[in-house]
Symmetry: C2
Subunit: 299 residues, 2 copies
């Protein structure tokens, strides 16, 4: 049960993120590139990562304009990864958020280029020049770029995708499954929290606690995703259900069984909340509610 005040906070944040994406993803990029980029990122998705950025910013009383840029950048990276992941040479998925995927709508070459340009755009958004009305200190720009690049790259999301690709049809033990998911989804979720935290004052102990919160939340998200993949229908998920099973990919459910996967989701939820407690932040209730949402969601 989501409280009215949390729901209204979420609506407000999402409106700001949507308006910023609308502003920053260029409609006029040449030769249909802008249209493919906008199709891939506007008007869709749960926007969990932007919400984590904004909630972490609030928790440290950070700069909301800087956090909004970080939120847009993180969502651009997430959206580009979905565009590339859906392509025929990867998961070959035709449905995403209830719509044809980008490569189905615009062709494979445009989908690849749109994803490439979205990744670059994320770093453009994080580096406003001095003439920009919403400039950010250079130190913050550099930190945000560094956090995002590391979460997106070989030690993060792209590395996780590579393991995912290589593990199809192969048994994976729990340790390696966890490593895959730490990189594939966990790194960017954790970076969302830390990029929000970077927008304000944050001492090393608080940073470490928020980092632990992000790690636990990132893994919890993936365990729940794997559970929903086998327990929900496609129309509810807005994407093809059961596709990991069909593709013979190892998941928390196939490796641990449904009951143990549910138990782990519960434990990770507790770990995330304990880390928040440890942070000592007075304004961490939105981060707590987002952790609840990640574990209790049904799509």
């Amino acid at each position: 049960m989501i409280s009215a005040s949390f729901e209204s906070w979420m609506r407000e944040q999402l409106a700001a993120v949507e308006a910023s994406l609308e502003r920053w993803v260029p409609a006029d990029a040449p030769a249909g590139l802008g249209a493919a980029m906008r199709y891939g990122v506007l008007d869709g998705g749960k926007r969990l990562r932007p919400l984590l950025v904004m909630a972490a910013c609030e928790a440290v009383a950070g700069d909301a304009n800087a956090a909004l840029r970080a939120a847009v950048a993180v969502e651009l990276i997430h959206a580009y990864s979905l565009v590339h992941d859906d392509m025929p040479c990867m998961d070959n998925d035709v449905l995403r958020r209830g719509k044809p995927t980008v490569h189905v709508q615009f062709g494979e070459a445009s989908a690849m280029l749109a994803g490439d340009a979205m990744q670059a755009l994320a770093f453009e958004v994080l580096t406003p020049d001095a003439s920009d009305e919403l400039a950010m200190p250079a130190l913050l720009q550099a930190r945000l770029c560094g956090l995002l690049a590391r979460a997106a790259g070989h030690d993060g999301m792209a590395g996780g995708q590579a393991i995912d690709l290589a593990s199809t049809g192969k048994p994976l033990d729990e340790v390696r499954l966890r490593d895959m998911h730490r990189r594939k989804t966990g790194a960017l979720l954790q970076a969302s929290v830390l990029m929000g935290a970077a927008s304000g004052p944050c001492d090393p102990a608080v940073w470490a606690a928020l980092s632990d919160y992000g790690t636990a939340l990132g893994l919890a998200f993936q365990v729940v995703d794997d559970i929903l993949d086998v327990t929900q229908a496609s129309d509810k998920l807005g994407k093809t259900a059961g596709k990991d099973l069909d593709a013979n990919k190892p998941t928390y459910v196939t490796v641990l069984g449904l009951d143990e996967a549910r138990r782990q989701a519960h434990t990770l939820h507790e770990t995330a909340l304990a880390a928040l407690q440890r942070s000592g932040l007075a304004q961490a209730d939105r981060l707590q509610l987002l952790a609840d949402l990640v574990v209790d969601r049904d799509c």
Copy 2:
């Protein structure tokens, strides 16, 4: 005719760039990702962009360690664009620098992920944290990230690729051809010069002159590329010759004819040298020699 001292300078710079790439492109990235990344960027290519970064750094008496990072980052972006550009959904090329292309060697999915991870790595290299032995001021990190992202994205390289893709088989007038190439190859070559210039003190007039040098050099490079595509054999180029003609793509040669293309290359060369003159920089001779090299090369 390249002088011995210029050749020895180039050899020295290339050795440093190669060693840095070797250090920063991770051999241990998971599931073959590191191998595909290293195959795509190590031990090949003319390294023109890194040389431009280092020469511009020298011209402004900049920080050579920072410039080396910029050189590596620019080359990673260039190399990733080749990996993606060679894929079946784009140019479908099987030969690059005399070797099988990345997707031929490692498969399409690995090629796409390697390219994605190389783009992220470029921004990782530009944002060393304080513990790094070769730290850079945050202001410089932010500027370099901003220059690189804009050159790589929708208004730069990715946008140029999109126009290229859409213009196959269509007549393109000289203005639109120039816009395509300004983005597709010009933006990153110009950014190479400016990233080198950012590594040291550089007043606005010098910056503007170097920016003009970069624009002219970038276009000259592409005009010469188009000329070589019809006048040289594949084994000399290390890639498939005549492929633009075969693909029915507009080039400077098809739009202007060979003689006029050669005349334009000459004019652009003069424009680049005039801009260098205007910069008033005393140490600009390496930039001048690189402009000569771009126009006089035969591969």
